[in-house]
Amino acid sequence: MIQQSPGYLLVLATVLPVLGVMLSLTLGGRRAERVALMTMPAGLAVAGAIFACVLATRRPLLYVVGAWAAPLGVSLRADGISAAMLLTTAVLMCAIGLFARADFRTPRPGPREARAPLAFWTLLLGVWGALNAVFVGNDLFNLYVALELLTFGAVPLVSLDGRAETLAAALRYLLFALVGSVLYLLGSALLYGAYGTLDVVLLSSRVRADTATEVAVALMTVGLLAKTALFPLHLWLPPAHAGAPTAASAVLSALVVKASFFLIVRLWFSVMPALPILPAAQVLAALGAAAIVFGSVLAIRQTRLKLLIAYSTVAQIGYLFLMFPLVAGAAAAPGASSAAWTGGMLQAISHACAKAAMFMAAGLIALAVGHDRIAGLAGVGRALPMTVFAFGLSGLTLMGVPPSGGFLAKWLLLTAAIDRGQWWWALVVVAGGMFTGAYVFRVLARTVTRPGERLVPSAPVARGREALVLALALLSVVLGVLPFASFGVLQIGRLDLPPGLLR
């Protein structure tokens, strides 16, 4: 078995953070933070190298683990969207890690090891490893293990502060996640029973439209939707994402929900590219539209900043699902399908940057004023101008105001909708932007009103942390002004396009 030469990078993408987990648990104490900080540049380098490889060769990267070829063995594969998600994850992990240092420092003097810092840094590395395993996984059962790894990393992050509300939120999150993965596993079992393999690439050429496949895909999709928190399975998300510590909220909202979304994309467009999925895809998009409306309305009604941001995640997840009917049946309309594909993935990436920035901004605001009640935010704009500016910038991305990444994503979805004669989804995109504007401006308007007395921050906010938030917010905007051709990378290795259609 000849291995593709840079394929080992795919192994490293998961092994590095996993090595970090082991080291941090063994060394313990203050070294946990150091291990995490050292893993970050290495992980970023690996992700960058994978991205560069895929970009340079215009072909997906493949690695056969243990040299046992599928269907007996497990292989790893990074196509364009894997490479993009790996890089996004690495960048965000670095930013969030640096941001979290101030919150999860092992106090000096004190015992050798403190609970929250050890748990946070180790779990953060665990989440990173799991995310990378999801993005490069090419075997449905391996992806199940990766998803479970992600759950076990993410759930304890929610309840790190040990308050009763966050314990309840973590428990609810765990139960949803477990049911989601067990349904996914059930579907994989049926697919194995029908085709004798769990390898995504092999399945893509074997899958037929029959009862077993339909039941399997339905179960897997519902399970993954529960983990992605698509309306009406979103109940667990707001308390979990709003209750977690700031850095954890950023990871959960920006990245963790994207992993199960990513798997739905894999399942629908890589595992069963040849099946007629348009009617079912319309249902997914309808749920997405409902999520946009419902999430936005609830976000507008929130009185706490973190809950508002969490409901905004519920709404923004809705956009991701608008891509399904627009991408489906790529052979019929390759141009529009490619545009929708890029739009959907770009929405995932720009929302990741913007939402991480928003949660981090909210964390800094809460640190400065001692609470996160929106009604009491008057004067924050003057006290923390950089943070509020960053909040506003990420708001622009979420709304889809040009020239942000969110704008480009939503524009692509909108044009694809019109091109494919599904104009109603275009209306949803436009309406969603207005809803988003309403809740973002509600917060911004409050922060710039003049308070009765001058606001004095109750705790100092480090300039460096503000700069990190601004950097992420700027990144979410800059995605929109990159030359359009650079998004061609997202199309590399799509299994639902006939080879001739690849640009």
Binding site: T151, P156, L175, V179, A189, G193
Partner: protein, 113 residues
Amino acid sequence: MTSATLYGLMGAGLVGLGLYGLVVYPHALRKILAFNVLGGGVFLLFGVIARRGASSGLGGDPVPQALVITGIVVAFSATALAVALVVRLVEETGMAALPSDDPPAERAPRTEP
């Protein structure tokens, strides 16, 4: 009817029972138990698929059997984490009930503490 089919039907029934218990009972420990019943059914379906794939002198296809072993360990880890969360929650609040999942908008936490 073969015994594999029989156990397959049993697995389908277990999945149904587990799902019902998960949705209906508010007590968190009940939900965990229902999840485990559901998991048992899912694993059993893997076992049926393995049994039907018996060949080369083996009583069943070893690949799904190995997957089930991995799955059982993962399910146990999940149960342990969930149980620890429930015990902590009860120690904090004295309640093990997760409000039932039917009225969505009502429970959205809107009030300030």
